[in-house]
Symmetry: C2
Subunit: 97 residues, 2 copies
């Protein structure tokens, strides 16, 4: 199983409505991208201050299926319309269990 992690920082164009739309539309992706085996995400709860505003933890069977997800039209559309316009920076990593 490959765990894919993304931490996002928003730019100053983001609003509470944008973040709600991001969460709502993230939630739609597992139903249309079968390669997603587990998908957890949400705005930073702010317990510790270290800069990230939003986090995603997704699991895939392997690297090929992660790449299929990345390139999937539904994911590309999500990024184009909901997340990319509001991203100042992001960092990701993947690890195998």
């Amino acid at each position: 199983m490959l765990t894919h992690i993304v931490l996002l920082k928003w730019n100053d164009k983001v609003t509470a409505e944008c973040i709600a739309a991001i969460t709502e539309n993230f939630a739609k992706l597992p139903a249309v991208i079968p390669e997603i085996k587990s998908y957890e995400f949400g705005p930073d709860a702010g317990v510790i201050k270290n800069g990230a505003d939003y986090a995603l933890v997704a699991k895939f069977n392997n690297a090929e299926e992660l790449k299929t997800y990345i390139k999937h039209q539904a994911h590309q559309d999500f990024m184009k319309h909901y997340s990319m316009p509001y991203i100042e920076s992001f960092q990701s990593a993947q690890f195998e269990l």
Copy 2:
């Protein structure tokens, strides 16, 4: 349940032996810190290039138990001896499910 995510970037002092020791010693923490409900970690598999070298995904019942983990002597000792000397930067976030 509160998910705590950390992405790390190593400095130029890190070696393969250091990273192996970090993974070995991360693995010892759940046995001594009962607040840890789930603990997954590992070096970046490099499927997508975005900068992070190592990732941790940990779950806790709530923010108080996350704070107990952060302050726990075994975690503090782990950070002091194994991870902090090799960290160039890190970013974390927490989200509630």
